[in-house]
Symmetry: none
Subunit: 223 residues, 4 copies
DNA sequence: TATGAATGAGGTTTCATTCAT
DNA sequence: AATGAATGAAACCTCATTCAT
């Protein structure tokens, strides 16, 4: 019942603004849904409650999404997009393999403390339709390839100690993924700090170290 | 398999053997269920299919378990038991903090490639009743404490480079937990090998290293 | 069958009428359910049959009630309301204790020949949830208190022969309650007639009688 | 399997005693069942719990009864038998219609405070199979006829004020039946006392009274 | 675009009952 | 006579989804 009349000046704006309104609502649904899905788990969460939290009714959701599993898919899509943005930036910035790996760990670790980021590891691809599932699996594979790629690169350019890239990627990514499971927003560390810590410590063992002088004093990252 | 002749000698054996039969069946249910739950996810898996795979009918399951969620709980309980057995052995063997941590990583990583081990990280505690949930959460907390304990010990005894035990434990355990998500039985590496690899690489960065001479030949991490 | 034309005049009516429609349906469910419950007994009656009789499907019932036992509770609530209405009217009208008791017997006895009235004595409180059960028990207690109150009043004001109010109330109410068990709608007596008969005969023995002259002709109870 | 040899002296006794044992067990089942049925209601009570209370297992019950509804029927049968015993005694003793009615009220009222007596009014004939149901209905009808008969007799012999025997019987029996619903064993009045009170008060209004002198002092049963 | 109402499908659970031992 | 195990039937309930308005 919005009765303000902008229609006079431009027959086009209302359409635009209407579309924008629509997109905003769609996003609102998504943000609410992802929270609920994370809170209660996809299966226990009901569309009814999603709707309730948005002060609308269940069928209204179907104006924005084709069904529950499409909402789920979009959560994943958002997460994947965030990751891709990060990797694009990292690739663009260049640097050694180790550099990139560290940046990636930092970024990805941070994302894991995010609703849409956590979606990547807290939801179950088997809840998706075949088509969507394939897309998501492709996205996850791509992330894995990114990690492995940086490691391989690093080994090649000498910044990373030789190792099995596949296993090492699993190790690092697994460690970061797990953040999505234990991170609580009320924790003491910010997502960035966690990403940073993990990035350093995880890659510390991998860095090719310059010959050290006999230790005299302890000189360490933390503390 | 038990071919010892029963009834003749003792009226007591049949009772024993009956109880054994019961326990065996209970275990069979559990093994079938955990596989199905892992395959399809707890919510998609139906008791009907569990029963079908066992060539019995659904209500027969209720002879062994009080309900679906009790089956789920027992999967967890099995996993926790396995972990506890491992830690007990590790503690009994003694050694430096680093030693223990490595052994733990090896054992725990190996378990993650196991059905009941994977239960610890693939299922959702919110699917349990309040009572069972508390037990499981306590168990998980205990595992976390074990990891942290070994790290703290190691720092104290000088075998581990000082670090934040909490974050480090999260890192290591997370990395190992992730095995439960990606490991497929058809993979090329045995669970033990994976546990071994992870154990070494994860703890390598933590080990306090003797002063090194300038590198001449490659003699890296993997020892 | 509301035939007043709605939508033209007011955008508000449709809402009203919709709400009314909803209430009417809820009531229809209740009337159908109470009949079925009385016919077959609460446990033998299935929601499926309730739904069938209403030409809807079972889950549709859940739009109006939270579950089978809530329907049961509402039957009771309807019955209790009817009784309360009666007692309110009786209290408002005033009169001697005996007067009130007679009116109450008449009204209550009549209700027992009613679906919702019979609910009060034909259903089992143990089929209710704890909360609802408490409400119903309170309601029953209140009815009992009403009977006893009238008797006590009557004794006090001299209209009723002294007696044990508790036992007498049990006696009278029990006698009336039983109507709910044997009354069949096809019987020869109307509910009102039954109420009347019971009211007179039950209270006749209680009435303080004026000294009689030696009986010469039969002039008894039935008046 | 029983190899103790009492057989020598009498091949007949063991049979007798075995049958007696069987009957005793059957009765024990019945007593336990009727209690449970009254406590929880027929449908909520499970054979499992009946068996548990008897320290046997569910299938063992089937040695004594053909099924749950047969147990229910036997409860009724016990109740009916008790009533019939009473009426037989009353009839044998003779007396006026009023006398018999009073005795009957006393006896029947007392029975209602009994497990098997309460069975007559607390259970639902629709839970029985058709055959058993017919038997029970016949029994209830017979009880009704007995009440009506005494009343008719009393009217005929002048001991009871003329009235509608059908309604009066309903009234009296209903009042007594209700005892089965409210009587709790821990109450202050014994079953006999209740029967007595009800018998007197219920029939008091019916008795043809001798001309009374103007009341001077209150002289009443209770208080 | 949003809603109330209704549906279909399916799942867990309970229990009386039977059967082989 | 008694048991453990298993079954069949059915009931309640939940929820995503659709449809008419």
């Amino acid at each position: 019942m919005d009765t303000r009349a902008p229609a006079a000046e431009s027959p086009w704006l209302p359409f635009e603004s209407r579309r924008r309104a629509r997109d905003e609502k769609r996003e609102a649904v998504l943000r609410t849904a992802v929270q609920l899905f994370l809170e209660q788990g996809y299966h226990r969460a009901t569309l009814n409650e999603v709707a309730e939290r948005l002060n609308i009714t269940k069928p209204a959701l179907y104006n924005y999404f084709r069904g529950k599993d499409e909402i789920l898919f979009e959560c994943w899509a958002m997460g994947l997009e965030l990751v891709e943005t990060s990797t694009a930036a990292i690739n663009a910035a260049g640097g050694s393999g180790l550099d990139k790996l560290r940046k990636m760990a930092r970024a990805y670790g941070g994302l894991m403390a995010t609703d849409f980021g956590a979606s990547l590891v807290r939801f179950d691809v088997r809840d998706l339709g075949a088509k969507h599932r394939d897309i998501v699996l492709a996205g996850k594979k791509s992330i894995d390839r990114t990690f492995r790629g940086y490691i391989t690169e690093g080994i090649a350019d000498g910044s990373i100690t030789p190792c099995d890239p596949k296993m090492t990627a699993f190790m690092i990514a697994g460690s970061l993924n797990w953040i999505g499971h234990w991170y609580k927003r009320d924790g003491t560390m910010t997502p960035e700090a966690i990403g940073e810590t993990f990035a350093m410590q995880l890659t510390d063992g991998l860095a090719v170290r310059p010959p050290r002088k006999p230790r005299t004093t302890k000189q360490h990252t933390k503390r």
